[in-house]
């Protein structure tokens, strides 16, 4: 039962083969027994979960259910869920109880999804390995000594270990796609502005985007149908007609033009990753796709640009944590400034402090034009590269991450090495495009490899179609870590 997709579980619920309460109990039990080895889930509230499941069962009985009604879900702990502790992986919010719902949570609740709990994450979503969390690192179910990727590492690890059928994530520089790749699941970052950022604790507001994480592309489409939509409370939410993201799933691949940027197959990619990605592309070719060579000449600049813009926006967003209105406050201080300084030094971990420092510096007098404005100009060049590439192809493919999951602790001493994890994902955020990662094989050690699919603005339905057609012809996405299969 725990192996089933959302689509299959929904059938079981509709046929009364199981109830939502039974599903909630099943996954809560798996979390109780298996999570201690993973540290993927950091907050549970069984009473609330079972009450939501009972309400979903009543909706199903009344014939008022949709495809997500009664399906359990885990939320990344960056999303406010009313009455639930919401920490963002930080000591700063260790005891913060959310006073309202994020738009995404509100929408998934309205669709009848059952909140199972909150997942661990890199502190304030700043990290690529889930090692910066105040609540300790998350482990990868494929190998417990390896990281699950980050920052949505808890959501990824939990779905990979089948502690939940699906989870929410957020992606600022690759935080949905990279952990999805490293744990062998599917994750979608929608076009910037498709899902509301309201109630999603802000990291870098011009890049942050919420998205679904699940086992199949079809499940991502079902979730996105509920997560997407205009919300006046997010000033960058886009006013668009609602769309059905499942509408193109069955479309044949024949004639699809796949763009392969040569920059995605350069030095620094593990041979096993290149091999799996090339095999997946060969499979697409067998399904009738055409291959086009494209180029993203400025892609190498995406990391420096990102590490100016994201910290700049973060330093501004995180100024709100002052120990006055909510969150941690230092126990001892002499005056107001001392209180701020001690509160923030105690409440934020090393990586968050580092990024606040970078951001404060690049926004400070005399450096604003040289760094911040310069980075915004190069950002436009990166976006223009994609626009040129999409004149010649329908979808861009390449690796999601240059490596498979690496060992815990192996990159924590070197921030620059850690930042390079996101070399293939960051440019997509800078351009604001949709990107998707799906499982495409394993390395020799049995660790999953992710294939990244990048589409033009608002091409989510087509991307999901391209991913779904691959999954009809392969079984990487149904393979799960054997030690969690019992």
């Amino acid at each position: 039962m725990f192996q089933l997709s959302i689509a299959d579980l929904s059938q079981c619920l509709a046929r009364r083969e199981c109830s939502s309460v039974e599903l909630a109990r099943l996954f809560l039990e798996r979390i109780r027994t298996l999570n201690p080895g993973l540290n993927a889930v950091i907050t549970l509230d069984e009473e609330r979960t079972l009450a939501a499941a009972a309400a979903a069962d009543r909706r199903i009985a009344a014939g008022e259910s949709g495809p997500l009604t009664g399906i359990p879900i885990l939320h990344k702990d960056i999303f406010l869920a009313k009455g639930w502790r919401t920490t963002c992986g930080s000591r700063m919010l260790e005891n913060f109880i959310a006073p309202y719902d994020a738009h995404v949570v509100e929408k998934l609740d309205a669709a009848g999804m059952v909140n199972l709990g909150k997942t661990n994450m890199d502190e304030f979503a700043m990290g690529s390995s889930n090692e910066t969390s105040w609540f300790g690192p998350v482990r990868n179910p494929w190998r417990l000594s390896a990281v699950p990727g980050g920052s949505s590492g808890g959501s990824a690890s939990a779905v990979a270990a089948r502690l939940a059928p699906c989870a929410t994530g957020t992606d600022t520089g690759g935080s949905i796609r990279q952990p999805a790749a490293l744990t062998g699941i599917c994750g979608l970052k929608p076009t910037y502005g498709v899902a509301s950022r309201y109630g999603m604790i802000a990291f870098a507001s011009s890049l942050d985007q919420a998205g679904p994480m699940a086992k199949t592309a079809q499940d991502l489409a079902l979730m996105l149908n509920a997560m997407a939509g205009f919300d006046a409370r997010d000033s960058t939410s886009l006013e668009r007609e609602p769309e059905d993201y499942t509408r193109e799933l069955t479309r044949p691949i024949k004639g699809l033009r796949i763009g392969l940027p040569k920059e995605f197959f350069a030095e620094g990619v593990q041979p096993a990753v290149t091999k799996a990605v090339e095999a997946a592309i060969a499979q697409y070719r067998a399904l009738g796709a055409e291959i086009v060579e494209v180029s993203l000449p400025n892609m190498g600049l995406s990391i420096p640009v990102y590490y100016v813009l994201a910290p700049a926006e973060a330093s501004s967003n995180l100024a709100r944590f002052d120990g006055v209105r909510y969150g941690h406050r230092a126990a001892e201080y002499t005056d107001l400034t001392d209180m701020y300084e001690r509160t923030r030094a105690e409440g934020f971990g090393a990586e968050v402090r580092r990024r606040i420092m970078i951001g404060t510096y690049v926004l400070s007098h005399g450096y604003y034009d040289a760094y911040y404005i310069k980075a915004q100009r190069v950002r436009r060049l990166i976006a223009a590269d994609f626009a040129a590439a999409f004149e010649r192809c329908d979808v861009i493919m390449g690796p999601t991450s240059p490596t498979t999951a690496f060992e815990l602790g192996s990159r924590t001493d070197d921030p620059v090495q850690m930042y390079l994890c996101d070399i293939y994902t960051i440019a997509v955020n800078l351009a604001g495009l949709p990107g998707l990662s799906i499982p495409a094989g394993f390395d020799a050690a049995g660790l999953p490899v992710g294939l990244q699919l990048i589409g033009d603005y608002f091409s989510e339905a087509r991307l999901l179609n391209v991913a779904h057609q691959f999954q009809l012809a392969s079984d990487w996405h149904v393979t799960m870590p054997s030690s969690f299969a019992a």
Binding site: S206, P304, G327, I358, S364, A370, A375, R377, R380
Partner: protein, 95 residues
């Protein structure tokens, strides 16, 4: 261009982050490694390129100038580390 120890202390003050001398030293080393990475940008000619602040170049949406927030004091004030009589408490700032 490398940052100096003074820069790190100045920025930490601006960011309201207390740091001891050992932290300032290691922060200086780390930041200089990160800023060396950023220098790659400086060689790019961007004279005619407009800065991009929003992926879709969407302007801020306007709304009617009327109050939309309701009074949520009872919900929000209990989240404060210190409050009294419906007010947030902070150390005395005026002598």
């Amino acid at each position: 261009m490398a940052l100096t120890h003074d820069d790190v202390c100045r920025v930490a003050r601006l960011a309201r982050l207390r740091q001891d001398e050992a932290q300032a030293q290691s922060m200086l080393t780390e930041l200089n490694r990160i800023f060396a990475l950023m220098e790659q940008m400086q060689g790019v000619d961007t004279t005619l390129v407009e800065p991009m602040s929003h992926p879709r170049d969407v302007a801020q949406r306007l709304r009617a100038d009327r109050v939309t927030e309701s009074d949520r004091r009872e919900q929000l004030l209990p989240l404060a580390p210190k409050s009294e009589n419906g007010l947030y408490l902070v150390p005395k700032v005026i002598e």
